[in-house]
């Protein structure tokens, strides 16, 4: 047995993974890398992307199963309730998994995997990365599905305290089951420029998807006002999206072509160089569970101006961020304050503080505590688990119970057809440490 004592085999499941880039994707990848360094075994499962289907290996032997299901809506696989049961069972037995960790409430593959893993008796953990509302029809359905999945989850993780409150309200979980582990940033990749930029012109950087949710409309109101008040301020806007047209129109209308640069979509590798060309980072999102973009900016030594929404106030200490209401005049006021305190900011000092406060190794250690806690929970049979689903609602509770019973029956049938002993387990290979000469 090559897995040492106290080390776990973890299956990360989500619809969102490399080759897509985003908050959830980076979180899964970096967390997996740090867990590998701590000695655990990590396997990732996601759906196939274009031609990328089958098994792939990433850095440090991270094995990724690109299950051949094509995404059908916004990167999600088609939700067939029991269709993923055989493949998940095969992966769990082959890789000798001890617990399953699902990410993102919006991912259908995650919900199905957690459901099947619970049926087969594995411990499951769920991490929620976003905030959702309660009143529109999409959120109501999503919350019901979440209630189903979280009715029987072993432990849950949220990325901020606001996110914890939101998840507890949406799913009815007891708050003691929810752990708050914030995201982190790779400070070795995001370093400030070696030489301090000159203060004239002052450059304000915006990097985000240009959609309604990220406050692109606020930018359209704020940028002309700031350019009018401060003749020596320039803007750099990176990112693409449906609202790009409105920003271009704003540029034309106020003749700001030489003061506002629109870079289009910025690949992840180039984000650092764009950040290093600025002094201030502006984030105008209307809702954010935990904003990693702000961490990246602070790690590069930029002063942040952001809207006070969701979990943003929990991210940075008060001297590294200026918060404003999501209102154009308040944001202009905040930018004025930021420009005033800019000379007192030292980018290298900021970077050093960020290195101490946020690191993915810390996140991995705290996640490990959650895993240990989960594995110490008792095993429960189907009959002991069913009453938890009944609390989900008068009609929904009975429906969910029925779904789980059918899942259980299908699992037993699958075991009769292809017994556990016939599934070939994957041999573990030793990773030899490279000798540094």
């Amino acid at each position: 047995m090559d897995i040492k004592e106290g080390k776990h085999s973890i299956l990360m499941v989500s619809d969102f993974f490399y080759p897509n880039f985003g908050g959830v994707e980076n979180h899964i990848y970096l967390l997996s890398q740090c867990l590998l360094k701590l000695g655990h075994k990590v396997v990732v499962m996601t759906h196939a992307y274009a031609n990328r289907s089958g098994v792939r290996y990433m850095t440090n032997g991270l094995k990724v199963y690109y299950v051949p299901w094509k995404p059908f809506l916004m990167q999600n696989t088609l939700p067939t309730f029991y269709g993923t049961l055989p493949i998940i069972r095969t992966i769990l037995i082959r890789e000798k998994i001890s617990l399953v960790h699902g990410h993102q409430a919006f991912s259908t593959l995650c919900h199905e995997a957690l459901m099947h893993a619970r049926t087969m008796g594995y411990k499951v953990i769920f991490t929620d990365h976003s905030l959702y509302g309660f009143s529109d029809i999409g959120s109501i359905h999503m919350n019901k599905v979440l209630q189903f999945t979280l009715a029987d989850v072993t432990q849950a993780i949220c990325v901020s305290h606001t996110s914890k409150e939101n998840t507890v309200l949406r799913s009815g979980l007891p708050p003691e089951k929810v752990f708050v582990i914030p995201n982190a940033v790779d400070t070795t990749m995001f370093k400030p420029a070696p030489e301090r930029l000159s203060m004239d012109p002052i450059v304000i950087v915006v990097i985000s998807r240009l959609v309604y949710r990220k406050g692109a409309d606020l930018l359209v109101e704020v940028i002309p006002e700031v350019c009018h008040l401060y003749p020596n301020v320039r803007f750099i806007i990176g990112g693409d999206g449906p609202k790009r047209v409105r920003l271009e129109e704003m540029r034309e209308k106020h003749s700001l072509q030489d003061r506002v640069d629109m870079l289009g979509a910025v690949p992840h590798a180039k984000v650092r160089s764009v950040l290093n060309s600025g002094h201030i980072f502006l984030n105008s999102s209307l809702t954010e569970a935990f904003c990693i973009a702000i961490l990246e900016a602070a790690s590069c030594g930029l002063l942040t101006v952001s809207t006070r929404v969701g979990g943003v106030p929990e991210v940075l200490p008060d001297d590294m961020i200026v918060l404003a209401k999501p209102d154009p005049s308040d944001m202009v006021h905040a930018i004025k304050k930021a420009i005033r305190i800019l000379p007192h900011i030292d980018p290298q000092e900021m970077h050093r503080r960020m290195k101490e406060m946020y690191s993915w190794h810390d996140v991995a250690k705290r996640t490990e505590i959650v895993y240990d806690r989960a594995l110490r929970c008792s095993n429960q049979t189907l009959l002991e688990r069913l009453p938890r689903y009944l609390t989900c609602g008068a009609w929904a509770g009975k429906l969910f119970c029925l779904v789980m019973i059918i899942d259980f029956i299908l699992w037993r049938l699958l075991q009769l057809w292809q017994p556990d002993s016939e599934v070939e387990p994957v041999p573990d290979f030793k990773r030899t440490e490279l000798k540094r000469g």
């Binding site: 409150e165 309200l169 959650v370």
Partner: protein, 280 residues
């Protein structure tokens, strides 16, 4: 991130900033019942239109009666508008008169086409289609305002009110195509279009002018409709009476009963609302 605390530590500040039921309006039974009178008023108007259609198809009403009815409706509509909306400009009235005469002439010229529109379709299909269209019209109708923009109305018509208006117009055309003579076709289409296009506007102006007048008008209308339907068909009378009782008495009580289950949650996790309008 606080040293010395577990990651799943929950203290007193948990859910402290949650606000419950911030936007919920406490409803009063009497007010809800009075508001539901506008719904039953419109139901009665549509019932009267269907009555006129039924009598015309039975040849109980003659063409002359219909033409006189049309002119009376136009006259009284204008009278009420003048009384309530106070738009007394002569130029505007002339403008309206010209538009109305164009419309009427166009309708008269097109009535031969409507006369033979559904000649090849069986009667059963027509009755079924008309019934479903009228039900659709009632279902999607905007009871709080008027699809034709009234002077001083706040909002633009939305998709469902447009669909309901179209359904009613198509229903009147289908019924008209079943009639024997062209003059009848012209008269019935003119009558139906007048009611469906302008009745919401007139009732809206009336309601804005004086609530008592609105209530009086509604009760008179309900009494008139019930008597006419009683004379036509007893079962339909029972159905209409049941519907009116349901809308005016049962529904307000039900609404107030289930209002106590309302649970609206707001907090720092909500998406921020922009305080300005996005002009494209």
């Amino acid at each position: 991130m606080q040293p010395g605390f577990d990651d799943n530590h929950t203290d007193d500040t948990f859910l402290q900033e949650m606000v419950m039921n911030a936007n919920v309006v406490k409803r009063d039974m009497l007010k809800v019942m009075l508001d539901s009178v506008s719904i039953s008023q419109y139901l009665c108007i549509v019932a009267l239109v269907v009555l006129v259609w039924a009598h015309t198809l039975n040849s109980t009403i003659t063409e002359n009666f219909l033409i006189i009815l049309d002119i009376t409706l136009v006259g009284s509509g204008f009278f009420i508008l003048l009384l309530t909306a106070k738009m007394l400009s002569f130029k505007l009235l002339l403008n309206y008169a010209i538009k109305i005469s164009f419309f009427t002439t166009g309708l008269y010229v097109l009535s031969p086409i409507y006369h033979t529109l559904t000649r090849s379709i069986s009667s059963d299909s027509i009755w079924a289609l008309t019934t479903s269209l009228v039900i659709l019209h009632l279902f999607l109708h905007n009871y709080s305002g008027s699809t034709i923009k009234a002077p001083g109305a706040l909002e633009n018509p939305n998709l469902t009110s447009n669909i309901s208006l179209n359904a009613s117009i198509v229903a009147s055309l289908l019924i008209a195509s079943r009639l024997p003579s062209r003059l009848l076709v012209f008269a019935i289409i003119l009558f139906s279009l007048q009611v469906f296009l302008f009745a919401p506007l007139i009732t809206y102006c009336l309601k804005k002018y004086s609530f008592r007048l609105h209530l009086l008008f509604s009760f008179v209308l309900m009494a008139l409709t019930l008597t006419c339907v009683y004379r036509l068909h007893k079962l339909l009378f029972v159905v209409l009476l049941g519907l009116l009782v349901f809308v005016n008495l049962v529904c307000p009580y039900w609404l107030i009963r289930i209002q106590e289950y309302k649970f609206e949650i707001n907090g720092p996790w909500d998406e921020a609302k922009l305080c300005f309008n996005i002009t494209d």
